[in-house]
């Protein structure tokens, strides 16, 4: 049906008064809005003119208990925004997981597909068999990105995550501090694979 695609909602004139306005109200008033990270941990600034443009703008790994193990976004100055984006996307992830709960374990598709589109971004999800979630936020202007590429990026992410879990010094449930993982995420944020 033609209407259903529009329900996804890209074609409509959008409201100007959405989340961005009010959320600044307290940002200036209370605590620091953006967390100061040590400069060494920042990835090199991605150059937009480096050919095919950036891919993911935010990559997050979320534990089974729904708290972040790893979250990294490219515009680091507004990291909290991505925290909110990823956090709210968990509702959809939960819903999708519970919907496919009835399916057989081995037939289960790990890739959850598009979780939801926002004005500027698309949010994709992926869940491992151990219920660890990967969430990737992609600039919605990047139309070159196909579903298949997203899928392969998630697979790469999953492989890298598996490597971390193989590290005997990594305590499952702790935040991920791994250079290899950082590099891999950086590569995803930099260019098309």
């Amino acid at each position: 049906m033609s209407s259903s695609s529009r329900l996804g909602g890209a074609a409509r004139p959008r409201a100007q008064h959405r989340h961005s306005g009010p959320s600044t109200a307290l940002a200036m008033a209370t605590a620091p809005a953006s967390r100061d990270r040590p400069a060494s941990r920042d990835p090199p600034p991605p150059s937009r003119d480096a050919g095919r443009g950036k891919m993911a703008v935010c990559v997050a790994v979320i534990a089974k208990e729904n708290y972040p193990l790893y979250i990294r976004s490219v515009p680091t100055e507004n990291e909290l925004k991505f925290h909110y984006t990823v956090h709210t996307s968990l509702d959809v992830v939960d819903e999708k997981i519970s919907a496919m709960g009835k399916a057989l374990v081995d037939q289960r598709e790990l890739y959850l597909g598009l979780l939801y589109p926002t004005e500027d971004y698309k949010v994709y999800g992926y869940v491992t068999n151990s219920k660890v979630k990967f969430v990737m936020v992609v600039d919605s202007s990047n139309t070159a990105l196909r579903d298949n590429e997203i899928r392969s990026m998630f697979r790469k992410l999953h492989n890298s995550y598996t490597d971390i879990m193989c590290n005997p010094f990594y305590n499952p449930g702790d935040r991920i501090h791994s250079r290899a993982f950082d590099n891999m995420v950086n590569s995803m944020m930099m260019q098309v694979c």
Partner: protein, 1044 residues
């Protein structure tokens, strides 16, 4: 049409809209009381039929929305109830005029109206009128409900007539074109005779009739009409009305499928009525057709069985309808409301994913510029809908935005209270509870970044609300629970703002109750500082209570017939892990040691840190400490005084950090090591402090039994000197000192000591007892040091080998043989022999004086305290007798005793003996002195029984005899030395053995004294009493005993 009604749901399509409004001055409270009573009449069974009418009451309805009444009839105000207050008859015409004005506002759509007049009495009220009801007051209006029912019935009659009127309109007759306000200008000049136009009119009218049927409680008929309308309108591409027809179809199907309603809040009421109406509709349909004479062509065109949509179709049709609405910018409100209705239906169907798509769409619907209040309403309703479909995080997100909107900078008067209230409602969505106990178990598992943000916002909102206690509570919570996630800079910022808040309003341990009943539990700072271990300390040794040993008590405590059993021992061990095996004393300062560390990157000042206890009244003496930045484990001792007796349990500690008072209970602290927290407090005991006339000593004694010495004193004395030690006993406690026991123990007993080293008379002291607190008693101890005056054994040996000096020395051979092996045994004690010959060797004597004292209630309970005084005496040599010999005197009963005396001091001293002039010795000088003495007859002393029963007894007896003999000799000789500036001191003991044999009477006893190195052979032959020789041999070890 610009004001959306976010509360709408599908079943509202079957309701009649009635507006209830006040006219004139009506107290708000009274109005809403009446309004409540009126709105209770929300469904009415119409007389003579089984149909049910549903009424939707509004006290406020924008007239511009009313203009869309033709589009969807449930938007049309069909009834008006006006409530007015009229006290006098002369106001009446004016009031009635106002009522008419009010009617005109909705005049075009009203079916009927009523006026309720309160307070008017008299002839006007007597006139019977259908549209006006008079009530004397707001309390006396029992017939209101009845009036309303009548009113609704009158509405029904109009509705029914309109329905029948429209339904029987034949196509081809002049059907008016129904249109929405913004369409009106579009149809100007259109060809009204075209087929297209007529179809459009027909379709719209069908849809309208469908609406009316639905309102009139004829569900099946409405479905039929909607289906027809859809067909007609689709063919002419009249999308807005097609959307409306589809939505009508959906609404009717929803009403059929979900009699419980989709709105949620009025579910139970609708459940009953809804099912009834559905059944009624089913059963009634054929009858309705015939009795009301609806023409049969409606049922002929569309099959009856498939009229109602399936649940899946409902959603599809909603989607379609919304997409049609979306084509018209002016229909934004309609579209938004349709989305909301669809989401409610999907929530019932538990299809969250699709519902979220509808909601996502609703988010994007752009209405005209909304006022701030409308924005808040919009975000709140989005939040509510997300909550309904189980998207708690999304719900919390929108609620938070609504909260932010309440305090947006563009609002002249920010509603911080509302903002705060909404923020609180977002807490579950961020899986955050405000109870710190939920965070005490293990590491924090939550989305810290967003939780922290929310807490910051709560802090800020509560501060702006003017409730500093709340902001302190939230900020404390933030600091306590999110400490691990705060950067160093953030920690600094948070603590700084916390300190500035607490300057105005210190944080407490009270629950904070919010106006809506939510209770905020207190937040104890268990991480500032972090406590790693808690250890109860015993009292210092001198203050430790001891239980007096009673034979009875000992036996009772072990309830076992066995002297030893491993099982019992095991059980006791277990008990001991729970309970501490020492006691505290009432009224004495008791200590608990905590190991703490500071996790903050700056110095942490902890004030007013004290203990929390139960069981015993406890006076905690708080401490203030300052922990360096990120300190390691740091010991802190908390002290307090138990005021009563019994079991005391240390539950935790209290602190004041950054102006926040916290009570930290040990039970809630993870990973704290303790050695047990319960200890017994025994009744008060007195405290004794001793001070002496002697200087304190740096030398500490190492007592054998493990108890500690509280005070050590030392003194330096010459051999033979005596000195008084005056001990001041001061009762520094609060209880009277009643009993005192003094014992002494000599440690280091290597030296041979003659006479009593320490002697005292306790009676003098005890006569001052009981000693009141603060009083002092004097206790005198005499120290008498009398070590060996003979130089060393080797010197004496020389003397003995001197043939001249010994009278009657020749020894018979058998004795010699006995001697030999003793001599050979000499190297057994090489240490002592190696020391020999050191004249200036300073000897030390050490003793411990134990004061056992008790008094007050503790004494009654059988406890005492033990205080020890260490005494360290350095004995310097004074005089030595290097040689002893005798020369026979003129009389056989007398002899000359020759002594070589050596002055080892640095002073000049005199030696005197009885019947002899003083001999002056310069420092380091050695002279011989001769004393003429009578020989002794020891017969007067008790002899050992011939048949000595036991060796030990015999030995003992022998010792006694020796001692007695020594005393006798001493008193005879009375040798004493004197340093000119000092007192006179007596030489005692030394000469006993040396001189003994020389001075005894020869005929009676033939005594041989043989000393070689350190072994002594003593042979006594009593010629008088026994024929054979009695041989007694003492080795070096026995010798010392013998001498003492």
């Amino acid at each position: 049409m610009s004001v959306p009604d976010y509360m709408q749901c599908a079943e509202d399509h079957q309701t009649l809209l009635v507006v209830v409004q006040p006219v004139g001055l009506v107290p708000e409270e009274s109005f809403f009381r009446i309004y409540k009573r009126i709105s209770a009449v929300s469904q009415v069974n119409v007389r003579d039929s089984q149909r049910v009418l549903y009424i939707r009451y509004r006290h406020h309805y924008p007239p511009e929305n009313n203009e869309w009444g033709d589009f969807q009839t449930h938007r049309k105000v069909v009834g008006l109830i006006t409530i007015t207050d009229c006290s006098s008859a002369k106001d009446w015409p004016q009031t009635f005029e106002k009522f008419h004005l009010q009617k005109e506002m909705y005049g075009s759509t009203l079916y009927d109206s009523r006026l309720f007049v309160f307070g008017l009495q008299g002839e006007i009220a007597e006139q019977p009128r259908t549209d006006v009801a008079f009530y004397p007051s707001y309390d006396e209006c029992e017939t209101v409900e009845k009036r309303i029912e009548d009113f609704i019935e009158s509405l029904f009659i109009v509705l029914e007539s309109k329905r029948l009127d429209r339904a029987t309109d034949k196509s081809g007759d002049k059907i008016p074109l129904l249109c929405v306000p913004f369409e009106k200008k579009d149809f100007v000049g259109l060809d009204t005779d075209s087929r297209h136009y007529k179809k459009r009119c027909q379709g719209r009218m069908r849809k309208h009739v469908g609406d009316l049927c639905l309102q009139a409680g004829m569900l099946q008929d409405s479905l039929v009409h909607y289906h027809m309308a859809v067909e007609l309108l689709r063919s002419v591409n009249d999308f807005l009305w097609l959307g409306a027809a589809l939505e009508g179809l959906c609404s009717a199907s929803v009403i059929y499928h979900y009699p419980g309603g989709t709105g949620g809040k009025v579910g139970s009421r609708r459940a009953q009525g809804g099912s009834l109406s559905a059944e009624a509709g089913n059963r009634h349909r054929p009858g309705a057709l015939t009795s009301n004479g609806i023409n049969a062509d409606t049922s002929a065109e569309i099959g009856r069985a498939k009229n109602c949509l399936s649940p899946e179709d409902i959603i599809d049709k909603y989607k379609e309808a919304i997409s049609y609405y979306g084509k018209y910018k002016n229909a934004g409100v309609i579209e938004l409301e349709a989305c909301v209705k669809a989401v409610r239906v999907l929530a019932i169907q538990k299809r969250s994913m699709e519902a979220s798509e509808f909601l996502q769409n609703a988010v994007y619907i752009n209405l005209r510029q909304l006022s701030e209040e409308e924005k808040i309403q919009r975000y709140s309703i989005l939040s509510e809908l997300y909550e309904r479909i189980g998207f708690h995080r999304k719900s919390a997100f929108f609620k938070r935005i609504a909260a932010m909107q309440c305090a947006a900078p563009s609002i002249p008067e920010p509603g911080w209270r509302a903002c705060y209230k909404l923020l609180l409602e977002t807490l579950p969505g961020y899986s955050l509870s405000l109870d710190p106990k939920d965070f005490s178990k293990g590491t924090h598992r939550g989305w810290a970044a967003v939780q922290m943000r929310l807490l910051h916002e709560l802090v800020y909102a509560s501060r702006r609300m003017g409730n500093p206690a709340l902001s302190v509570r939230h900020l404390s919570f933030l600091l306590q629970t999110m400490l691990d996630f705060l950067s160093d800079q953030e920690k600094k910022d948070v603590t700084q703002s916390l300190e500035s808040y607490t300057a105005k309003c210190p944080g407490t341990m009270e629950f904070i109750t919010l106006p809506d009943g939510l209770k905020l539990p207190p937040v104890p700072f268990t991480k500032l500082p972090i406590v790693r271990s808690v250890k109860l300390l015993n009292l210092p040794t001198s203050l430790r209570p001891h239980k007096m040993k009673s034979l009875l008590g000992q036996n009772v405590s072990t309830k076992s017939p066995f002297i030893y059993s491993p099982i019992i021992a095991h059980n006791r061990g277990e008990e001991r892990t729970k309970k501490i095996d020492f006691q505290w004393v009432q009224g004495d300062v008791c200590e608990v040691q905590l190991m703490v560390y500071n996790p903050m990157p700056f110095e942490l000042r902890v004030e007013n840190m004290g203990l929390l206890t139960t069981g015993v009244e406890f006076e905690s003496l708080p401490a203030a400490l300052s922990l360096p930045a990120e300190s390691g484990l740091y010991p802190v001792t908390l002290v307090g005084v138990p005021q009563t007796t019994g079991q005391i349990t240390i539950n935790g500690y209290h602190t004041s950090v950054f102006g926040v008072f916290s009570d930290c209970l040990l039970d809630n602290l993870p990973g704290v090591k303790t050695n047990g927290c319960t200890v017994e407090v025994i009744p008060a005991l007195p405290r004794l402090q001793i001070s002496t006339s002697l200087p304190r000593s740096a030398h500490t004694l190492q007592p054998s039994s493990g108890d500690e010495i509280s005070t050590n004193v030392s003194v330096q004395l010459y051999n033979g000197e005596t000195q008084q030690l005056i001990i001041k006993l001061e009762n520094i406690g609060t209880e009277p000192l009643e009993t005192l026991e003094v014992t002494s123990k000599t440690v280091n007993t290597k030296e041979k000591l003659y006479g009593d080293f320490l002697s005292w008379k306790l009676e003098d002291t005890l006569s001052q007892f009981p000693l009141r607190p603060g009083k002092i008693a004097i206790f005198t101890v005499n120290i008498k040091v009398k070590l060996d005056f003979s130089c060393q054994e080797n010197l004496l040996q020389d003397l003995n080998d001197d043939g001249i000096s010994v009278s009657g020395l020749p020894l018979s051979s058998p004795f010699r043989q006995v001697v030999k092996p003793r001599v050979e045994a000499k190297p057994v004690n090489p240490q002592e022999s190696s020391k020999a010959g050191d004249f200036s060797h300073v000897k030390t004597l050490e003793a411990i004086l134990n004061f056992k004292y008790s008094g007050g209630p503790g004494h009654v309970e059988g406890y005492y305290r033990n205080l020890s005084l260490g005494l360290h005496v350095e004995v310097e040599p004074s005089v030595f007798f290097t040689r002893v010999s005798t020369l026979p005197a003129t009389s056989t009963r007398q002899c000359h005793l020759l002594l070589d005396v050596f002055n080892s001091t640095e002073h000049e001293l005199t030696i005197s003996a009885r019947n002899n002039e003083d001999l002056i010795l310069h420092a380091g000088e050695c002279q011989r002195m001769a004393i003429q003495v009578d020989k002794f007859n020891f017969e007067s002393f008790p002899e050992s029984p011939a048949d000595g029963t036991q060796f030990a007894n015999e030995k003992q007896l022998e010792e006694e005899r020796q001692q007695a003999k020594g005393l006798e000799i001493n008193s005879k000789l009375d040798i004493c030395w004197k340093i000119i500036s000092f007192h006179k001191y007596f030489v005692e003991g030394v000469l006993n053995q040396l001189v003994l044999e020389h001075l005894q009477l020869a005929p009676l006893q033939w005594v041989c004294f043989k000393s070689k190195f350190n072994s002594v052979l003593l042979v006594l032959i009593n010629l008088m009493t026994q024929r054979g020789p009695l041989l007694r041999s003492n080795g070096p070890s026995a010798l010392s005993e013998l001498i003492i």
